[in-house]
């Protein structure tokens, strides 16, 4: 059976949450993988969880993006394996150059923790294949540097290649360009998302946000 590795860096702090939701709630097998562990390459798919890797020093995600594991991640992405970065994981993927654009300080200039609504823009990725286009659902956010930015030319190519996966719907919490909440690479196998899909299933019998993990799990099943 395909296995998901949850990469743990010093300062990751949603690793346990993702592990709990996948294994205990959604029954999708997933393991912790310490960032220096060479076993990572054996995984079919990787999730980089949220947190404050290396204390967000210099800039969120930048130090993790310069550790040896980044080279391994790039190899895996090139080989077509799926990588999902959540919150700080998104920041790391952007800093690695695996995703376009950058994530900067929220326009409110403070950390924000609350729920918002996002809309599916691209349902042709491994993370969204079971969702409908334009479908909206509620999802929690918690970030200080979550404003997605891309300059005019880059944004144009992101839009043209259908790389925007989710947008904030009527409620942009950080001032992202074009209300972008999640983007993927051109191939669609690497996605970064600012909101926390792993937090949605708590206290709710069913939630649409965890469909992101179900989509991934379905995609990973042998065809």
């Amino acid at each position: 059976m395909a296995r998901i590795g949850i990469v743990v860096f010093p300062g990751s702090n949603c690793d346990r949450d993702v592990h709990y939701i996948l294994n205990k709630v959604l029954k999708i097998p997933a393991d912790f993988v310490w960032h220096t562990d060479s076993k990572l390459s054996a995984y079919d798919s990787v999730i980089i969880p949220g947190g404050f890797t290396y204390g967000d020093r210099l800039r969120a995600g930048v130090i993790a993006a310069h550790t040896p594991v980044a080279i391994e991640l790039k190899k895996m992405a090139k080989g077509g394996r799926t990588i999902l970065g959540i919150c700080n994981g998104f920041q790391i993927l952007v800093e690695c150059g695996l995703l376009p654009g950058a994530l900067v300080m929220n326009n409110s200039r403070s950390f924000v923790c609350r729920w918002t609504t996002i809309r599916v823009d691209n349902n042709k990725t491994p993370f969204t294949s079971l969702l409908k286009r334009n479908q909206t659902f509620k999802i929690p956010i918690a970030h200080g540097e979550g404003r997605y930015v891309a300059d005019g030319r880059l944004l144009k190519s992101v839009l043209k290649n259908n790389q925007v996966v989710f947008r904030y719907f009527n409620d942009d919490p950080n001032g992202s360009v074009d209300h972008i909440a999640a983007v993927c690479n051109e191939e669609g196998n690497v996605m970064g998302i600012m909101p926390h899909p792993e937090r949605a299933p708590v206290n709710r019998s069913f939630d649409e946000a965890s469909m992101i993990f179900r989509c991934l799990s379905t995609y990973l099943q042998p065809k």
Binding site: F52, G55, A142, R199
Partner: protein, 728 residues
């Protein structure tokens, strides 16, 4: 410089049977400071009831441990960082969080939640020459300090409270509590044997925070920035993970946080409590800067450091784990077969004293005298005239930052990380956290400096009642109380009188309710240039929700019938109505009748157990008018209250609306008949159905006369006042 009094110096020399050298004297002075030794308070707080069926480890230097069944425990601790926060609000508040988290780690449990209780001068207090407000600056940076630290280490800040009062001018109270969770069998037992290794792990030791404990044990008159420590949450996060891992591997025999007094206090307290001698080499300490003297090394309060005892069998586990997290650690010394604290620097002994002498300060004798201001307050008191525009009063009360929505604060805190937060801040009277065994705990902090000032005894009883009511509103039975007693100088007999009244109140309430006091702290010398702060005991209640019991929120649902439980009396002294609306200090402070308090609390839990209520809200600051409005704002629905129906002994309308009488609850239900039947069956219970929730109108009527006439959008807008102030 830390000082010993003449008596203390004499006592020390007598106990040592010689004169101490300079370093020894300073080590002892740090440990004998009020902050570390509790020398003024110990004999009183020792009398508090601390035993109960859930209590595994009661009050002491580190966190308390409570049994929650199925082999699991929760740990709890509270501390303040008032002096540092008043000088450097960001760093002071952040290091306050760091300290309380390390107390939780010290038990071998993982921190799962943070709570904060904050106090500032009113935000409009324009107390600087340039017109800026110091309290606004303090609030902004305290919240950011707590947020940045808690968010970074991945521990959610789930509940708290805030009060604005002019007595905190140019000062602030920053109390932080933390909850830990773990397996009962992995609790660190704190044992040591001959030849075990003493390890210092974490941040390097620098010149920051030297004399911090002494700083906190003196009246705060001038800004002493060098006594404030520097926060590093990333390092703390690594400590949490590494120590949790080492505890799981059974590699830790004893551990302790380095807090106030640095190595001096940590080493002497640990050596004393283990009953073992320590032989320490200071040359080993990893430092931030060269040339630190032995004294500086002993007194530095550099943050994110812990002391660990392990043995030769497990040292390799420790090395592997700390290397994995790239944590710096050093073997500082060994356990010896004597009972002394021996400190060496480059092999030369610089201090050598029996640790029991160092760790046990002679208790201070403090005098107490009823404060003269209490008589003045009574003589000067004249009740205000009831305002004609009560609608305006209600709107102003809702916009009072002490009452208004705290959304601006908790939105900056990650309150959901960890996936345990079942009720988020603002949704209910207390925060509810999921445990691994199907149970939940409910936690809340409460304080009321205004009422404790006018009546320290009844004010403190009120805080206890309120904290217990708040957890009961979520469906939890209180299983433990923590207290943080914050006062001015204990050398002032009037301050000490109030302190003793507060301790008496806790003693009486907890004995009566049979709820143990599981932990606490005392913070004296909270004084500003205007004199002592108002007496401020902050009470934390920890409630347990057994499996399958329903968790109750406080938002009103459309069509709910609204009941009130409890009597409203002319108890409006120290109320937000008097203080915020009329600027009057004085009058009758609400008194707690403990029999009624217990009866009402049990009745509420009975209703929640039977699943017949949609929402429950405690009636406290702002009285019944504010309580119902808050429920309406949360639920997005209006109401029409007939105030004649509120059970009361009030002589005027403003009392009835805004009195802060205790033991009252407001309930919303879809099954009014069942609720009525259950409540009628409880002997001695006072309750009444006062209105229904519907549409958008918000009115309070007496007979046919409309007293308050407004609507949902108006009360909702006014309730957002704190955010409006802070983002303007």
């Amino acid at each position: 410089m830390a000082d010993l009094t003449k008596d203390e110096s004499r006592y020390l020399a007598y106990k040592l049977n010689r004169e101490p050298n300079k370093i020894e004297k300073e080590i002892v002075a740090a440990e004998w400071s009020e902050h570390c030794s509790y020398k003024s308070s110990k004999r009183f707080i020792k009398m508090l009831p601390s035993k109960g069926k859930h209590v595994i480890v009661g009050p002491g230097y580190d966190a308390a441990v409570l049994d929650v069944g199925d082999g699991y425990v929760i740990t709890v601790h509270i501390q303040s960082h008032n002096h540092p926060s008043a000088v450097d609000p960001y760093g002071g508040a952040a290091t306050g969080v760091g300290g309380v988290i390390r107390d939780i780690i010290s038990t071998g449990t993982r921190p799962i939640a943070l709570l904060d209780a904050l106090r500032f001068a009113p935000l409009h207090e324009e107390n600087n020459e340039d017109g800026s407000s110091t309290s606004e600056w303090l609030l902004r940076h305290v919240v950011r300090g707590i947020g940045d630290y808690g968010n970074c280490i991945g521990v959610p800040t789930v509940a708290g409270e805030i009060e604005f009062d002019p007595s905190f001018i140019n000062y602030c109270l920053v109390d932080v509590a933390s909850i830990g969770f773990g397996r009962r069998d992995s609790i660190v037992r704190n044992r040591a044997n001959y030849d075990d290794l003493i390890i210092l792990v974490g941040g390097p030791t620098g010149r920051d925070g030297i004399h911090g404990a002494a700083f906190a044990s003196k009246t705060y008159l001038h800004h002493n920035r060098s006594a404030v420590q520097i926060p590093d949450p990333f390092l703390e996060k690594l400590l949490i993970e590494a120590i949790t891992e080492a505890v799981e591997e059974g590699a830790i025999k004893a551990l302790k946080d380095l807090g106030g007094g640095g190595l001096s206090c940590c080493l002497s307290e640990m050596s004393d409590s283990l009953g073992k001698g320590f032989d320490i080499e200071l040359r080993e300490v990893h430092v931030k800067e060269k040339g630190m003297s032995p004294l500086e090394l002993m007194l530095s309060e550099s943050q994110e450091r812990m002391l660990i005892i392990t043995d030769h069998l497990k040292i390799d586990n420790i090395r592997r784990i700390f290397d994995k997290y790239e944590l710096k650690y050093v073997i500082l010394g060994k356990i010896k077969d004597h009972h002394n604290l021996v400190i060496r620097c480059n092999e030369k002994i610089v201090a050598n004293m029996p640790s029991t002498i160092v760790a046990n300060a002679p208790l201070a004798r403090r005098y107490s005298k009823r404060p003269a201001y209490l008589t003045t307050l009574r003589l000067d008191f004249t009740p205000p005239v009831t305002p004609s525009n009560l609608t305006g009063v209600l709107l102003s009360m809702l916009s009072n930052p002490t009452i208004a929505s705290k959304d601006w604060i908790y939105r900056q805190y990650d309150h959901e990380v960890g996936l345990r937060t079942m009720l988020k801040p603002g949704e209910a009277d207390a925060s509810v956290l999921r445990l691994n065994n199907g149970k939940f705990i409910s936690v809340k902090l409460d304080g009321n400096s205004k009422q404790c000032y006018i009546d320290p005894y009844h004010g403190t009883l009120g805080c206890l009642s309120e904290a217990c009511r708040n957890v009961a509103c979520t469906g939890a039975f209180p299983i433990g109380i923590i207290d943080h007693l914050q006062f001015g100088s204990p050398e002032n007999p009037e301050v000490f009188w109030s302190f003793r009244k507060a301790v008496n109140a806790i003693n009486n309430y907890c004995k009566f309710m049979k709820i143990p006091v599981v932990g606490g702290k005392v913070s004296f010398y909270n004084e500003t240039s205007k004199g002592p702060i108002k007496p401020t005991p902050v009470i934390g209640a920890i409630g347990l929700i057994e499996e399958k019991r329903l968790i109750t929120q406080s938002s009103l649902k459309d069509g709910n019938a609204i009941f009130i439980v409890g009597t409203t009396a002319n108890e409006i002294g120290g109320s937000e109505y008097y203080e915020y609306v009329h600027h009057i200090t004085g009058g009758n402070v609400a008194k707690v009748d403990m029999n009624i308090d217990r009866l009402n609390l049990r009745s509420i839990l009975q209703l929640i157990d039977k699943n017949v209520v949609s929402c429950v809200h405690d009636c406290s600051k702002g009285g019944v008018a504010v309580a119902i409005s808050e429920m309406a704002i949360l639920g997005g629905v209006g109401f029409n209250v007939f105030i004649d129906k509120i059970p009361n002994s009030c002589s005027n309308i403003d009392s009835l609306l805004f009195s802060e009488s205790h033991s009252r609850y407001v309930i919303g239900t879809k099954e009014p008949k069942t609720v009525e039947k259950i409540l009628s069956g409880i002997e001695g219970l006072v309750f009444s159905r006062i209105c229904d929730a519907y549409k958008e109108k918000v009115t309070f009527k007496m007979k046919s006369k409309i007293l308050i006439d407004t609507d949902l959008p108006a009360i909702t807008t006014n309730f957002k006042r704190l955010e409006q102030i802070m983002t303007r």
